[in-house]
Amino acid sequence: MKRLGYLGKLSLAARWFLPQEEAESVIEDYRDILSEVGGQKEAVERFGKPWRPVMELADNKKVRRWHMFFILMVFCAIMPVLFLFFQYVKENYFFTMERISGTFIWLALYMFGLDIILGGSNSRVMTWISIAVLTAVVIFVFFLGPMEVLEAVFLSWVKEFFFGKWFPTRTYAEGYAIIGSVISLLYFRFGRNRGKPIPRLLIACLLTAALVVVGIYGFVMYCFHIDFGPMLHILRVQIICVAAAVLFLIGAIVGIVLARMYDARWRALYIVCIIGMVLCFKTLSDTCWNMSPSLWVFVDNYNAGIGPNVEWVHDITVKYAWYLGTGTVLTALGLL
């Protein structure tokens, strides 16, 4: 039992710090080796703490890169929820947070760029040129405003294309969700688990998360197309959305950890959860009349209090369809 304890901890460390195939091979080797060793105490004396054998094998650059990706993915999952709290608890903080988070994401991307250059280039001249160019680009982007540039790069053309008009993004939740999804798709790559059946637990988690997403989507559509009454219970709607967003956040982090440690396809859970978070967030910020003064322009003021007008219904329907569609496509990609 004690020996299993040592091997169990070693297995967790191996799956976290080593690439998947190597981790499995090391665990298999240590299973053989530890079967010859007397007990946990002897194992610690001979091999050190359970993480020690793994650290002897880990490539520091790869570990650093994985941690950088991990932080970025978690950051993209946490920001929408943080926005929720800052927006409703203390409105003044909201805009400041946007700036800080934008700066953070650029810094992380910058560090990641440096890591790739320094890790992959043997030419000193090329390394310094790349560092200088990258630094200049980042400084330039800081002056422009990181989130504005991200929006211009990732979202403005999308808005023009799908909605036929540009409109200011009240929150950047969807930006983080898309960046997080793309990072997770790039990091874990495709096809490494092709042929293996999808874990049942993953299917169950995906179905649960999808059910909540569809529930929120269905609720909003019901309110906007059939009966707006339930939406007027603002406090209840808010509580449900915040609770769902927090659960989605937990699901997203679990998804990344399991994608790293067991099967890359767990990233699909991460993606569906961050898209779910965006839906919760949007439901809170876009559909509550008195919470979103910017949307009053869509409401016929003479009929205010009765329900949303046609333009607003159209706007919400297209926007939610876009989130659901994007989420479905990215989740499907996550399962490849």
Partner: protein, 99 residues
């Protein structure tokens, strides 16, 4: 010649004599280098495998569980000869110095 190279040399030497399973290699080398943790020795064994100097296979043992054995490869024999040459040169220098 670093201690790491000496351990690599000993490892390759053990494998030129016969194929061995992981625990066996670790035990023998730990007896010779008691201040080196076995996890570090195992890391060197995997490094040799990654470099193509050794390869592993699952061997059947009568009455016991199947184990992963390591054997030396052709590039491994070349590396072994290189390390033996270095070791002999070092030994010669040390003898010249009267150590």
């Amino acid at each position: 010649m670093l201690k790491k190279d000496i351990i690599r040399l000993c490892m390759l030497h053990l494998l030129t004599v016969s194929d061995r399973y992981g625990y066996e290699v670790l035990s023998v080398l730990h007896r010779i280098f008691p201040d080196t943790q076995e996890s570090a020795i195992y890391a060197l064994l995997r490094e040799l495998c990654r470099e193509g100097c050794t390869e592993s296979y699952v061997g059947e043992v009568s009455g016991g569980p199947a184990r992963k054995y390591y054997r030396i490869t052709e590039p491994g024999r070349g590396e072994y000869q290189r390390l033996v040459g270095q070791w002999r040169a070092l030994k010669g220098f040390l003898e010249e110095l009267g150590i």
